[in-house]
Symmetry: D2
Subunit: 345 residues, 4 copies
Amino acid sequence: MLRVAIVGSTGYTGFELTRLLVGHPEVEISILTSRQYAGDPISEVFPSLRGRIESRLRTPSVEEVAEEADFIFIAVPHKTAMEVVPGFHQRGRRVIDLSADFRFRDPHVYEKHYQPHTCPELLEDAVYGLPELYRDRIKGAQIVGNPGCYPIGALLPLLPLIKREVIKHGGIIIDSKSGVSGAGRELSLDTHFCEVNEGVKAYKVLEHRHCPEIEQELSGLAGHHVSVIFTPHLIPMSRGILTTIYCDLAQEEGTETVLKWVEDFYREEPFVRVCPLGKFPNTLDVRGSNFCDIGLKVDHQGGKLIAISAIDNLMRGASGQAIQNMNIMCAFPEKMGLEVPNLYP
Amino acid sequence: MLRVAIVGSTGYTGFELTRLLVGHPEVEISILTSRQYAGDPISEVFPSLRGRIESRLRTPSVEEVAEEADFIFIAVPHKTAMEVVPGFHQRGRRVIDLSADFRFRDPHVYEKHYQPHTCPELLEDAVYGLPELYRDRIKGAQIVGNPGCYPIGALLPLLPLIKREVIKHGGIIIDSKSGVSGAGRELSLDTHFCEVNEGVKAYKVLEHRHCPEIEQELSGLAGHHVSVIFTPHLIPMSRGILTTIYCDLAQEEGTETVLKWVEDFYREEPFVRVCPLGKFPNTLDVRGSNFCDIGLKVDHQGGKLIAISAIDNLMRGASGQAIQNMNIMCAFPEKMGLEVPNLYP
Amino acid sequence: MLRVAIVGSTGYTGFELTRLLVGHPEVEISILTSRQYAGDPISEVFPSLRGRIESRLRTPSVEEVAEEADFIFIAVPHKTAMEVVPGFHQRGRRVIDLSADFRFRDPHVYEKHYQPHTCPELLEDAVYGLPELYRDRIKGAQIVGNPGCYPIGALLPLLPLIKREVIKHGGIIIDSKSGVSGAGRELSLDTHFCEVNEGVKAYKVLEHRHCPEIEQELSGLAGHHVSVIFTPHLIPMSRGILTTIYCDLAQEEGTETVLKWVEDFYREEPFVRVCPLGKFPNTLDVRGSNFCDIGLKVDHQGGKLIAISAIDNLMRGASGQAIQNMNIMCAFPEKMGLEVPNLYP
Amino acid sequence: MLRVAIVGSTGYTGFELTRLLVGHPEVEISILTSRQYAGDPISEVFPSLRGRIESRLRTPSVEEVAEEADFIFIAVPHKTAMEVVPGFHQRGRRVIDLSADFRFRDPHVYEKHYQPHTCPELLEDAVYGLPELYRDRIKGAQIVGNPGCYPIGALLPLLPLIKREVIKHGGIIIDSKSGVSGAGRELSLDTHFCEVNEGVKAYKVLEHRHCPEIEQELSGLAGHHVSVIFTPHLIPMSRGILTTIYCDLAQEEGTETVLKWVEDFYREEPFVRVCPLGKFPNTLDVRGSNFCDIGLKVDHQGGKLIAISAIDNLMRGASGQAIQNMNIMCAFPEKMGLEVPNLYP
């Protein structure tokens, strides 16, 4: 059994890791940390866990965590993450960080959008945790920077389109619609029920930090810098991100052809589903699952391609993705612990 | 592997059975029936199932179903259920009926609230599928009448209170608040998004058919006829029933004492959780799970006991309960296939 | 034009007062106070007000408020309210307080459930702002204690039943279901979108402070102390309270008879609507209006009467009620400024 | 008093017209028609109207309507609309049609996307009811084709940008997010609560009929054919449309400059509000009002302009817009009956 620690287990992604790992046949949860609720049983913080796990929340030192756990998930906010990761790394513990701290290869990009990086030397070895792109490197990684929720929803449809040179690299527009859990469990007016319910809005227009993350990966694929326009929207639901992508075809192609290429590209992938012709994803169909559903259609008149993806932001967009990465890193079956039934309706 | 048929698999309870049985280690889904969608893959009707099950929906005869399946779930509306159950029964197939047709021991009670019963002779052998009450009889049952969603939420808190003679049998008031999936997938103004969203209402006041079902079981426990007042309410959410019960203490007791009795009563039960002193259930904490959470408090002034339960109406209130019953009938581990992680938030 | 101040205008009830008073033909809003947002235009805090009112939020002294306003609404939390009301009162300003500070006639009851009262001498003259009970006294009142949201929903159905001696005074059970705006605009986990959405729960079971308020008024009507059992529930919607009341008939009566009595009782009331036989209220039908809708039904078997009311907690349950009271105090037409169209769906 | 008929008053737009016109000082509602509910009081179909209007629903002939009403709103589906409009027109009655039947100047465009037009000769005189574009023509119009909900949200931000030649005419992308009431009150799985709640999806991708309507108006402004990409999305709320528009600047401009141009353009408009620099619209801020809120931002790197609008689809997107048009046609003050307070939260 792999002894696992979850550092920061009382946010939504920490909870989601706990919820899933409780049922993972190869994992034993050995440490759940929380500053805010230290000493409480996690099932008191999250009564939905009662009868499934009874551990108490702790605030152990880096040493203690490294002692008691073989594998560590970091589910604390960025900045706090890079404060603890080096300690685990030095002690030979493998780490998946769900914050932004190890997603960027170039520390300058990170520092432009976040803050000074306190261990830039580790970035070189950290692997961006998108299996469809980096499965082989993830296998041997010591540190995985788990992708942001929006980037996953944006990258999965674009990956085969860029790789196969179906689309132009300029003018890509990404319009995302997210549920509220993406904003975390901290309190703010933006997540107050009455301020969210029955409303939609765009936020951080042209300044969301997931944009450079998307651009990093697209640029890597394209072999030169790719800029995108990215607009996140908040909608009144708890889970899910729908991403609508507008791009220009490199040359004329029909919907069926492009659809087939995308299907072929993802044929062996356990957690990507391509919608049949004329069908498009709905976040309700991926809720509680690790699937990314993708649909697309070509506009003949304008040469535009519209690609749409749906993910559960806490599953594929965070903790489910992290567990898939752990499975890869530990040579467990990739779907282990993730074949939970979607919750619909 | 138990070959299972789901008759009526495109309503919400049929879907829920499918969703769960796909992952049940001892079950093979051999037939999914649907009149409306016959010929379609179930994953087209419910895209959330894509990649998990690819069967086509069929309209087989009773003979064919009995031929290809060892065990049959009936998830069609009442009246239609009793039309098909005798055929399966004669052919030696064990049946769990999720409609109301086999819940009543006395056909007159059924007929007063529903319609003429076309196979009253089977009622005698049918077992009411509440394991906490009838586990032993369920083991050997040929026909299980799976309880209604409201009755489960009402009965589980009342059971230990009546058994232990904590409360009086008169004046019990049951005030339930249900999500919309309880009304099924059929179209009606009552389930139109805009008519439900941002509103609460009581419905079928003093005339809901789950009331005689609750009374049947309480009367059985009490040894004489027990009447209750039951008011269902519809609230703007998809899943969940919260039931608030008001009753009179038979003699003065403190909250802690009563709580302890209830805890003791359910100590061995895999799917009942009793909330600690001062805590009360929230449907969000049981969403997607088979748990029934129960909390209670005594009002010293008035001698009243308030007991509150939360269930997921499609899980404990229907399909999860049915699978628990199947496990019991087939001597599978009782929690098999039901240890799915709750979905929160 | 009546110059009106709203003390505490950036909570939901303060906003609601502003929203409505902007369109009141006899009112000029002269001061909007806010500590948190002092200096900002109110339309920046609430963009929905842009183009309707452009005032800046201020933190004036009691003197300044009394100088610039003839009439004062207090929409700050209890305790803060009683700190400022005496100053306005001494300066001859009429006040409607939306907090609990002036709702109780007996300071001991207030102090038992809230905190020490700092101006108990004013309680004697303060009038409980329920026009259906105290219209005449409200006319001449200097201080009106505007009722709590739950008490209004509970009292309006009970009033005619108690007055006409239709029901017994013991064993009244009040089960209320409220939207989230009743909890105000302050941040707390209880109002975080993801913690509320798709869940229902009871809270403050047997210890909510609106219970003694309900009891005060029922006791006054009955001529002796009346106890009730009151359970508030939180449901996932922004506005509205549905209250389901269970009580015992004093003598046998049919639904039609009782319904007619209630209709007669409220015939002249501008803001009470009694549902026809067989119909029950829905909070969606009163959203954005000052109406209280009431429906009821008798259970012949048990001698129980079920009465149900629906209000918009920010309108009839707070600010709409307060404006109705102002209209009465100032001899304006009682419906003035309140004939706004309900928002459905 | 203008005697007004609402033909088709039991859909959401018909209800909304009724709700608003009840309070319009210059209007008397003389006829409300409904096939489905003929004979019933409208307050029985919509209990929220009780106490505000007591008329019975009727199925009068065209003659009767024309006899009893001076002005007619058509709120029936397209096709049915063009069956009745000519009769009213011949009898000299002015008509506002909320369906698509009189929105297109070119019958071929209409027929391509809808069906054969049965009175194409009337299209020439019909005026597209967007006051910001056609106020003068609306004044004298006999028939107004009230714009679609999506087109209003798309056109209002684009109007000043095209008029002032700020943006290129090619490559405009319109990504809209709509509440469910836009789909009307008819029953369908797409509006079933459980199918909508907690999900987002795109629908009618590249084939929604509001696209040619948008193109007609943009082309008219541009002086040549303009194509757009338009994707509607359904989100779990009752009212509101947020429209995010991506277009290319014709030449480099800063956000402040463009914002100022748009502000200037709309300075005199009663129902357009331009958000200050750095602020963007939220549908919650326009709910229940006739406002269209607009915000925008320039991306310097890519030369893109992002413009965002929010409307209430039943108000500015349908019935509120229709009443504004009636006010213009009848020389009433343009805001009359529309200065209702927004409903927030």
